[in-house]
């Protein structure tokens, strides 16, 4: 029985040794971030859940292909990012429609929650208007808190390219937010 707090390398070795149930530890560890990332990329929680579920099953099936289990998180984000890109490509557009970007509201029926929900919707609309590559770079940097080095591992893009995408995304977001303030 592998410890829930065991390092990724240990859990991966356990799974590859035949203990498929140990994969549940990795799911619990990375599922929240992957779902957040996919939701921001696709703008639709259902599509995001599909993308993450497919990615995790794919990761399980190809776990032996993970060349560096110490960087499992990056590997999982990479697979999920690829699934999101495939999903967007199937929709023939990199943009997500506003109607598909419902706010991740608190759920409590208070004025503050409603106001927050509207703010979230506003920011999501601005994010949804970004091209997918810039949206991905911005989310990985500012929502998932990754370094540019890890982002390069996840996306396969060079660090200067990623910096440029993040910078452009910030400019577009700030412009959109200031437009609303006016």
């Amino acid at each position: 029985m592998v410890n829930n707090g065991a390092p990724d390398v240990e859990v991966v070795a356990r799974v590859l040794g035949g203990d498929g149930e140990a994969f549940g530890i990795l799911i619990r560890r990375y599922e929240p971030g992957l779902l957040r990332f996919a939701t921001r990329m696709l703008g639709n929680p259902d599509a995001a859940a599909d993308a993450v579920a497919e990615s995790l099953v794919r990761a399980y099936r190809h776990l032996a292909q993970c060349r560096d289990p110490e960087r499992l998180r990056s590997w999982l984000y990479r697979i999920t990012g690829n699934r999101c890109r495939s999903h967007l490509a199937r929709r023939h557009t990199n943009d997500i429609s506003l109607s598909e970007a419902p706010p991740l509201a608190d759920g409590s029926d208070t004025w503050a929650a409603l106001e927050r929900s509207e703010q979230v919707a506003l920011v999501e609309r601005a994010l949804a208007a970004l091209p997918a590559e810039k949206r991905e770079a911005f989310v990985l940097k500012h929502v998932e808190g990754m370094s540019y080095e890890e982002m390069a591992t996840v996306t396969g893009a060079r660090i200067p390219t990623l910096k440029m995408r993040v910078h452009r995304a910030r400019e577009a977001l700030l412009a959109a937010l200031e437009e609303v303030v006016r």
Partner: protein
């Protein structure tokens, strides 16, 4: 959309103390940080049960397993690979000749919907070389190459289902190497521009 002041970009990249920013830049900084915080809420979703159900229903995966299990799995699966690799044109030419040999010469015998593949790679100094691919769920240990004469040329024959297969060599148990002279490659789907080698197995019945 106008460019953001470089000092604001630096602050957002953690390269500058945001407290040093002028008032207008500080306001823009705060607005962007507030926006990112709004986006950081974690969706109240879970796919854990769904994923684990899928895994339990079809547990086949790229586990390494023990030698006996690997052997049983390998023997129980209709393998088939047709290999294109070689590390020089000369070897490729020699290989072509080998591939034309009739299968009855002690090699694996394919079924009607299978074909024989010969994997060859040049890995001088390697301690082990194996082939993993879509035909064996990328399972390590299922198909090892041999270098009995220690000349750095590793090879293995296999019977695989007719059709298209992706594969890679695994050298010394840790280095994943695409076949440099495979005729075709395909993105491995994991980003970073990595590619898998591609081979097409023709059914033995269709071979001359």
């Amino acid at each position: 959309m106008s460019p953001i002041d470089p000092r604001l970009q630096e602050a957002l990249d953690g390269e500058r103390d945001p407290g040093e920013l002028a008032a207008d830049l500080g306001e823009a900084y705060a607005r962007l940080i507030a926006a990112t915080q709004l986006l950081s809420a974690t969706p109240r979703l879970s796919v854990a049960a769904r994923v684990m159900a899928e895994i339990r229903q079809n547990p086949a995966q790229a586990q390494t397993g023990g030698p006996l299990r690997r052997s049983i799995r390998w023997l129980g699966r209709p393998i088939t690979v047709r290999l294109r690799p070689a590390w020089t044109l000369a070897l490729a030419a020699g290989l072509a000749a080998v591939l034309l040999l009739p299968f009855e010469r002690g090699g694996p015998t394919p079924g009607v919907t299978q074909g024989v593949a010969k994997f060859v790679g040049h890995f001088p100094g390697a301690r082990s070389v194996e082939v993993v691919g879509s035909f064996n769920d990328w399972s390590r240990g299922a198909l090892a190459l041999n270098d009995d004469d220690h000349d750095g040329i590793w090879h293995a024959d296999a019977v695989l289902p007719a059709g298209q297969h992706e594969y890679m060599f695994v050298v010394d148990g840790e280095r994943w190497v695409p076949d440099p002279l495979a005729g075709r490659f395909v993105d491995d789907g994991f980003g970073e521009g990595q590619q898998n080698s591609l081979l097409i197995v023709r059914p033995a019945a269709a071979q001359p």
